[in-house]
Amino acid sequence: MPVKVASFTELLLKIASRCDLACDYCYMYELGDDTWKKQPRFMETPVIQAAAEKTASYVRELGLPRFRVLLHGGEPLLAGPGRINNIIGVFKETVTGADLSFGMQTNAVRLTQDMFDGLPPELSIGVSLDGDEYATARHRLRLSGMSSHSDVLWGLSVLRRHPERYGGVLAVIDLRNDPKGTYEALREQEPPMCDLLFPLATRDNPPSGLGEYGRWLAEVFDVWHADTDPRAPIIRQFHLIISRLLGRDMRAGFIGPDPEERSLVIQPDGSAELLDALRVTGNGASATGLSILTSGLGEIARYPGYTPPDPCETCRECPVFDVCGGGYYPHRFSQADGYDNPSVYCEDLLFLIGHIRGKLESLSGG
């Protein structure tokens, strides 16, 4: 069998290893992996330089027309505008063979107007927000235990004044939050796009309320699909499911077959890592032993873990497999069978896909 080799189109740079929030569901700090403690607080200059130079070589060798650099953490704004400008400047100067785009995922607690004005204008910014003030207070807490909600709303108010830089918001579902209220709270922030994520879980550690997540999302879908408010965002999961039901080959890792485009995660010390969310499967699960200081992207791409595991036989024989693709692969994990399982959220995906299919059929008179 030929060896599959990943193709990177994105670097996810962990520019800060610490965070100013203590969200209880965070895969970096709360889900069993403590390797972040060994990392420098901020990405080091030789790592930035090596990452840019090796990206330039890779882009040139593969003839890639585009490449994306995402700044991540920890909390990337802890690095401050000076470091962030430096990183983007190094990449712009070094990677000249492809169109570069830059994004950042932040908790927005430090996103004041002054901070925003100091950031590079190329940077598109996504914000993590779970919904209204009650939703935020359940999980997204300051180190003091206080909710981060008011500071995040302040940061979002800055972004709303700059829609061309506003990537979207990303929420983790909590079944205790009202679905309609959650949607309306997110829409109030006028994001162009929303992500509504299942909590990270494996088959060994399923969340409570399995089977209810699909119904929760279906309730959001019903409010969303009829929303004529011009601020109504695209919701990525719905976009993906609708597109695949219409026979369009859209994929993003959560829904549909695995995308051919992959991210390479680089830690502050230069370590190359696998998909961040694999931390949920155990301590050090995302480690490769490789470093951007000593390996190029092409060499790193040959590490087997960068190619997601094939969906299990149960999934491949499922009538909605063409839409679902087996779901997000960390959700398939169990100690006993590795990734050779349906998603822990299988029942939820089945329900949601059936609900959306039914709605589209009713709208087509079918």
Binding site: L70, G126, S128, H225, I234, M250, L275, L363
Partner: protein, 37 residues
Amino acid sequence: MNADQIETTPGTPLDRIVNTPRNEEETPLLSLFNSSI
């Protein structure tokens, strides 16, 4: 399922998705959060 047969309300996000030409549907934003929570 055929997009042409689905009746959507203009201006809704569903309308934007269903009636977006295939070659315009992929936006850079779609991948902004691929690896994030």
